[in-house]
Symmetry: C2
Subunit: 142 residues, 2 copies
DNA sequence: CGCAATTAAGTTGTGCGCAACTAGAAAGGG
DNA sequence: CCCTTTCTAGTTGCGCACAACTTAATTGCG
């Protein structure tokens, strides 16, 4: 290690820089769909889970209502989702995909493959990276 | 993998989530110093390199002037740095540490160790992670 | 039951990131 | 030497993240 900066520091910075670099790969395609990366993540959850409360989205994406509320409002204004009060528990707000929001799924279908191509890692390396990032998240969440 | 989401996607999300989780570890200590994580990164560069132009900082941190200009202005308002026009090339702005800014270095000295402790990875795993993140950054920067 | 404690979502305020643009200085070619 | 092109910072605008707070609904304990 040539840097006199300390390894953990570098890992943290690498994490910070790599995360931004990765989302930058998504940006051009997401731009054509009129989506940001966090909006895309929220839609993915809805595509896979169906109707989901704000709280559940927050747990899955590790985001709070301060981030999600305005984000979901923008998705609603764009016509991709609808927000309805939960019937059983009126504190909750359930997010539903609209037809338009569901249709986006096929339009965004080839995004993961694009990204996998752009990033020069083998399947093994992807798996390793995934494993290590999981450990980082696990040790920090506790 | 129970998720039907595709590995690259998950890696990207893991990257995004792990990066935020990592900076969250720094936050409590940085709060006591009155710094944000990006401000801390900028100061690290100055601690190691001495006077540095905005452009050089941008290259090292992979940030543009739209991010750095206001960040550095805040660091100047806090008394940690001074900004002076370059003498040879008057387009450039050189960032200098003040006494106070240099003094912060010792106060932040034990931060990396704290973080290394908080994250449950072996030295080998840190090295692996560092290597893989480097590859991600390299393949995306090109 | 009644009421305090908890919980869900939203709001406000601050600081990034990043795109798009501006102002001003330097470089370079005719 | 002038003028276009390039380059450095800075500004503006938007959308996250996140802390702190508000509102309203639910829980649960005496």
């Amino acid at each position: 290690m040539v840097e006199p900066t300390g390894l953990e520091q570098m890992v943290c910075f690498q994490l910070y820089a790599a995360s931004r670099a990765m989302t930058a790969i998504y940006r051009p395609t997401l731009d054509t769909l009129g989506l940001t990366y966090p909006q895309y993540l929220a839609l993915r959850v809805l595509w896979h889970r169906g109707p989901t409360t704000v709280r559940e989205l927050g747990t899955i994406l590790d985001l709070d209502s301060g981030t999600l509320s305005p984000l979901l409002k923008r998705l609603e204004n764009q016509g991709h989702v609808r927000r309805t009060r939960g019937t059983e528990d009126e504190r909750t707000v359930v997010i539903h995909l609209t037809e338009q929001g569901s249709a986006l799924r096929t339009k965004a279908a080839d995004l993961p493959a694009q990204v996998a191509c752009a990033v020069d890692l083998t399947d093994d390396e992807f798996a390793q990276l995934h494993h290590l990032l999981g450990k980082v998240r696990a040790s920090t969440t506790l």
